[in-house]
C-alpha cells in the first residue's frame, strides 16, 4: 500500500494537540470575552463556548484513533478495545491530576494534564516494551500519544458538559451526577472503534480518519445531551453541531467505503423457504 500517500503521524499529532488545546481553551476564553463585551454577544458566546471544548476533544479523538491504528496494526493479542480502555484509564488519571493540582492557575490545567498523561504513557509503554516484552517497535511512542490524546478527550468533553475545566466546577457538574462515566465510555468507544471497525488487509488511513471524525461527532452529540441537563441552551447547540458533523463525516466515510470496495452489490432479502 506504499503508493497511497498517508498523513504523517507528526502532522496528526500537531493537529490533535493544537486543535485539542485550542478547543479546550476557547471554552474558557469565549465566556470571558463575552463578559467583556456584554449584551447579546455575551449570550451567544456562552452558548457556543462548550461546543468548542467538544470540537477540541474531536481533534484529540482523530489523533488518538490514528495512534491506535499504528500500534494495533502489530496485533496486541487482546483486541483493539483494550488499548482504548487503557488510554482512557491513563487519560482520566492524568486529567484529574492536571486539573486539580493547578488550583488557581486554571489555565495551566490542560497542559499539566497533557504532560502528566504523556509521562504515564511513556512509563507504561516502556514497561510494555522492555518488561512485558511485547516487541512492538512503535509501542512507547504510541502509548505516549494515546495517553495524551486520552487526557485531552476527557478534558475536552468534560468542558463541553460543564462549560469550564475548573476542577472545583467539574466536581458538581461532571463527577457528582456521573456524566464522567458517559464521557469516559463514549470517549473510549470513539477512540477504539475506528480501527476496530476498519482493520484488515485493505485498511486505509483516510477511511479511518473519516470514521474517527464521525465517532468524535457522536461523542459530541452525547455530551450535548448531557450538556442540556447541566447548561441548558449551550447543550442543545453542542448536540446540534454534533449531529450535523456526524451526518457530514459519516457520509464521507460511507463514500470512502464505496470507493475502496471492489463492488457493492445488493444481496436481496433472505429467501423465506430454504431451497
Amino acid at each position: 500500500m506504499s503508493d497511497i500517500k498517508e498523513i504523517p503521524p507528526n502532522t496528526l499529532m500537531a493537529f490533535g494537540i493544537v486543535g485539542g488545546l485550542l478547543g479546550i481553551y476557547l471554552t474558557y476564553i469565549l465566556p470571558l470575552a463575552g463578559d467583556a463585551v456584554g449584551g447579546p454577544v455575551k449570550d451567544l458566546l456562552t452558548t457556543i463556548a462548550p461546543a468548542a471544548g467538544a470540537l477540541g476533544g474531536m481533534c484529540a479523538i482523530v489523533w488518538g484513533a490514528e495512534a491506535v491504528r499504528r500500534v494495533a496494526k502489530y496485533g496486541l493479542g487482546t483486541g483493539v478495545p483494550s488499548i482504548g480502555q487503557i488510554a482512557m484509564g491513563m487519560g482520566i488519571v492524568a486529567a484529574m491530576f492536571g486539573l486539580a493540582i493547578v488550583k488557581e492557575l486554571t489555565l495551566a490545567g490542560p497542559i499539566v494534564a497533557l504532560v502528566t498523561a504523556s509521562v504515564i504513557g511513556l512509563i507504561i509503554g516502556w514497561f510494555a516494551q522492555n518488561v512485558i516484552k511485547m516487541k512492538i517497535p512503535v509501542m512507547i511512542r504510541c502509548m505516549t500519544e494515546i495517553a495524551a490524546a486520552g487526557s485531552l478527550i476527557i478534558i475536552g468533553f468534560s468542558a463541553a458538559v460543564a462549560g469550564t475545566f475548573e476542577f472545583s466546577k467539574l466536581i458538581p457538574l461532571v463527577f457528582d451526577n456521573g456524566f464522567m462515566l458517559a464521557v469516559f465510555w463514549v470517549g473510549a468507544m470513539a477512540l477504539l472503534h475506528p480501527f476496530n471497525a476498519v482493520l484488515g488487509p485493505d485498511e486505509k488511513q483516510k477511511r479511518l480518519l473519516y470514521l474517527a471524525f464521525s465517532t468524535g461527532a457522536i461523542t459530541m452529540a452525547v455530551t450535548g445531551i448531557a450538556g442540556i441537563m447541566t447548561l441548558g441552551n449551550a447543550g442543545i447547540f453542542t448536540l446540534l453541531v454534533g449531529v450535523v458533523l456526524w451526518l457530514i463525516f459519516y457520509k464521507k466515510f460511507w463514500d470512502e467505503v464505496y470507493k475502496d470496495a471492489a463492488a457493492v452489490v445488493g444481496t436481496g432479502l433472505i429467501p423465506k423457504t430454504e431451497a
Binding site: 493479542g77 487482546t78 480502555q85 484509564g89 484529574m96 486539580a100 493540582i101 488550583k103 512509563i123 514497561f127
Partner: protein, 245 residues
C-alpha cells in the same frame, strides 16, 4: 505540597498493592477471547479486560455501597468490611458469568469441558485430554478454571475496594473535593482499574486458563512488577489531587 509523612507513604503503598492485586487477579480469570467464543479454547469467550474490569467494577459498586452505610463507617473493622463486600460483589459477578457461560457451552454448543494445559484436573483429578476435540485448545470451563476464576475475582474485588477505600478516606478530608469524595474516588479507581487490567492482559496475550496454566508462572512476575510501578505512580497522583500545591 502534601507532606511526606508515613501515612501518605502507606496510602501510596496501599494503592500500589491494590493495583498489583487487580493485575494478579487478571491471571486467575479463565479468559478465552474470540477462540473461546467459538468453543475452541478453554475459558469465557470474551477479552481479559472486559472480564477483569466487569468483575472489578461490580466489586467497586458493592464496596462503595458497604462504605456508604453510616454504621459501617463507625465500625472499627470498616476496612475489612469494605474489602469483603468488594470481593463478594466481584465473585458473584464472575461466578454468574461463568455459570451462564457453562450452561451455554454444555447445552447450547454441546461441548465437554476440557482443559488443554493439564492432563488431569488438579482439583477433581478427572482426565482432560480424552475429551479435547482435535484442533482446539480445550473447551468450556472445567472445575479448576471455575475455582481459579472465583479466586481471581476475589483478588480483583479486594484490589478495587482497597483503592476506593484509601481514596475516599483521603478525599473526604480535602477542602477541594469534600462532599463529593465518593464520586471522585470512584472515577479515579475506575481509571486505575482499567490501566491495571489492560497491562497484564498484554502480558497474558489474550488467553489464559487460570493458575494451573504454565503461562501463569511465566508472565505473572513481570506483569506484577509493571502494575506495581504504574499503580504507585497513580497513587502519588491521586494523593496530590487532594492536596494540590
Amino acid at each position: 505540597m502534601v507532606a511526606l509523612d508515613p501515612a501518605t507513604l502507606i496510602n501510596v503503598l496501599l494503592i500500589a498493592i491494590s493495583g498489583t492485586l487487580v493485575c494478579i487477579a487478571v491471571h486467575f480469570i479463565p479468559v478465552g477471547g474470540a477462540p473461546a467464543a467459538m468453543a475452541q479454547a478453554t475459558g469465557i469467550g470474551t477479552g481479559t479486560v472486559e472480564l477483569a474490569a466487569g468483575s472489578g467494577l461490580v466489586g467497586l459498586i458493592t464496596a462503595s455501597a458497604m462504605y456508604a452505610i453510616p454504621s459501617v463507617q463507625s465500625d472499627p473493622n470498616v476496612m475489612a468490611l469494605v474489602l469483603a463486600a468488594g470481593a463478594m460483589g466481584s465473585m458473584i459477578m464472575i461466578a454468574s458469568t461463568m455459570l451462564s457461560g457453562s450452561l451455554i457451552y454444555a447445552y447450547g454448543v454441546g461441548v465437554p469441558f476440557a482443559s488443554a494445559q493439564v492432563k488431569k484436573d488438579p482439583i477433581t483429578g478427572a482426565r482432560q485430554d480424552l475429551y479435547m476435540s482435535k484442533g482446539t485448545q480445550g473447551q468450556g470451563l472445567p472445575t479448576v478454571c471455575f475455582v481459579s476464576g472465583i479466586i481471581g475475582a476475589a483478588l480483583g474485588g479486594i484490589g478495587g475496594a482497597l483503592i476506593y477505600y484509601v481514596l475516599v478516606g483521603i478525599y473526604s478530608t480535602s477542602t477541594l473535593i469534600g462532599g463529593s469524595a465518593a464520586a471522585v474516588a470512584g472515577v479515579f479507581t475506575m481509571g486505575v482499574f482499567y490501566v491495571n487490567s489492560v497491562v497484564p492482559s498484554y502480558g497474558v496475550g489474550g488467553t489464559i486458563e487460570g493458575f494451573h496454566d504454565p503461562k501463569f508462572r511465566r508472565v505473572l512476575p513481570k506483569d506484577a512488577v509493571t502494575s506495581f510501578v504504574v499503580s504507585a505512580l497513580c497513587g502519588i497522583l491521586a494523593i496530590l489531587i487532594a492536596g494540590g500545591f
